[in-house]
Assembly symmetry: C2
Homo-oligomer: 157 residues x 2
């Protein structure tokens, strides 16, 4: 696989208006990634990438993240089969966030709890603010125990 070099961040104008990829990772070495369904536009997850995850995503066309829970590079779908094929990748103005539009293999789910999207609960807004969350998906798409077995749950309190 060809090496993929990121460009240095030379000027604000070049970062915002240039055609060179010059990503900025946080102090923890990570950048947030918005992943949406290329067909429906639904937000599937908010992931994190380090430099290796971003390089591998762009080179392979399959989403790679950095798991903060496991502190390791993570090829999404390697365990579950629910690989995310990248239809389009976009970088934001100051190049410190990325947006992937993906097609998900298999059952089409992206959430470790078993739902299609990680964002399966709506939060009341306006006069109802502070009220109960409302589930937007009524059934899980897959059984996480069957897929992940006894792997540790990434959710941390």
């Amino acid at each position: 696989m060809r090496e993929l070099h990121f460009h240095p961040r030379v000027s604000v104008e070049e970062v915002e208006e240039g055609s060179n990829l010059a990503p900025k990772f946080g102090e923890d070495g990570l950048m947030p990634c918005i992943t949406t369904d290329a067909g429906s536009g639904e937000a599937l997850m908010l992931g994190w990438m380090n430099a290796d995850a971003l390089r591998l995503t762009l080179q392979t066309g399959e989403a790679h993240y950095f798991s903060r829970a496991r502190q390791s590079l993570w090829h999404k779908g390697a365990t579950s089969g629910l690989v995310q094929r990248v239809i389009e990748a976009r970088i934001d103005d100051d190049q410190d966030a990325i947006w992937l539009r993906v097609e998900v293999a298999g059952s089409g789910a992206s959430c470790h709890v078993g739902y299609r999207s990680c964002f399966y609960r709506a939060v009341p807004v306006g006069p109802d603010a502070g009220g109960a969350l409302r589930f937007t998906e009524t059934a899980r798409t897959f059984d996480p125990v069957a897929v992940y077995g006894d792997a540790s749950n990434p959710t941390q309190l």
Copy 2:
């Protein structure tokens, strides 16, 4: 305005499957927010919220963020008029990220550079990885100098 209290994070099951809003902010007190256009599904920006920004967003129905560049609470559109009205808010499985579906007032832009979306450049994927970024918007929606005057640019190198 009624007080809006967040719930304590009692158990993984309650955080993932319960109906109580129990958000988790990072060590810097911030949570990433995906903001998409409620009509087109396009990702407009990746913002950051502290607890006050999340409360105000839910209570007022207008997106509030925490500006990392200015280190202050930020009512989006207060300067530019480009207010984001929240059509729907969703929280993710482990409640450490939020997704807003919004309608943008005025010219409909959300990016300080003047574009509709902050994600106005596509990054080549696969065999073309490492190549030049491709602009997906050909013209700015507004003139940032006219709107923001000589306010400092939030992009940091």
